[in-house]
């Protein structure tokens, strides 16, 4: 069964450094999402992406964040200058075209640790 994949599984970085988290959504999916989960807290929406543009973003998704679909398979989240409070689990999710099941399928997550 097709899966959403994410790399790396764990990323450690120094405060102020740029990080890029990568996701490969399920191949026939058209809608893509990033969520984050600070340890011990609930999962929070960051951004949704469709047709090569952002559909919606949360207050968390400020100018330090950006997303890109650089080719036909990858979907990336970039944090330009990481802060300690960016330490969290970041989940990518994807969803099928309209008219099909409305379920978002999640990747295994990338644990980001900012030191």
């Amino acid at each position: 069964e097709p899966e959403v994949t994410q790399t790396p599984s764990h990323q450690v970085t120094q405060m102020g450094q740029e990080v890029i988290l990568r996701c490969v959504p399920i191949s026939n999916h058209l809608y893509f999402y990033w969520y984050r989960q600070i340890l011990g807290q609930k999962v929070e929406f960051l951004v949704s992406f469709y047709n090569n543009e952002i559909s919606e973003k949360s207050e968390i998704f400020d100018d330090q964040f950006s997303v890109e679909r650089p080719d036909g398979s990858n979907f990336t989240l970039k944090i330009r200058s990481t802060k300690l409070e960016d330490s969290a689990m970041y989940f990518c999710a994807s969803r099928r075209p309209p008219g099909q099941a409305d379920t978002q399928y999640f990747g295994p997550g990338t644990r980001l640790t900012v030191l």
């Binding site: 999402y33 609930k42 929406f45 949704s48 989940f91 075209p97 999640f106 295994p108």
Partner: protein, 115 residues
């Protein structure tokens, strides 16, 4: 704005017994979906079950079933014949109908299945 409330931070059940996890939500939308996701210690987000708001019949998936009370805005998850592998954090989530819409999660219930 939509909200999702899970009032049980932790629950415990004996193996082979039945347990019910509670979830309530608030929305003025008529077209929406509800989900239960499971997050084991690996922190992967795994879909357990989904319910379309327009369907009166409660969803079931093997040992998992829901009690969807639309008027009361309640969406509880029943796990029958609990197994040790069911030990996980369970998140209730809401999504407005529409292609790009985000998931809104509750704070989760940590379920421990005891041998």
């Amino acid at each position: 704005a939509q909200t999702v409330t899970q009032s049980q931070p932790e629950m415990s059940v004996q193996e082979a017994e039945t347990v019910t996890l509670s979830c309530t939500y608030d929305t003025s939308e008529s077209n929406y979906y509800l989900f239960w996701y499971k997050q084991p210690p690996s922190r992967q987000m795994i879909l357990v079950i989904r319910q379309e708001a327009y369907k009166q019949q409660n969803a079931t998936e093997n040992r998992f079933s829901v009690n969807f009370q639309k008027a009361a805005k309640s969406f509880s998850l029943k796990i029958s014949d609990s197994q040790l592998g069911d030990t996980a954090m369970y998140f209730c989530a809401f999504m407005r109908g529409g292609a790009t819409n985000k998931l809104i999660f509750g704070t989760g219930t940590l379920l421990a299945v005891q041998p």
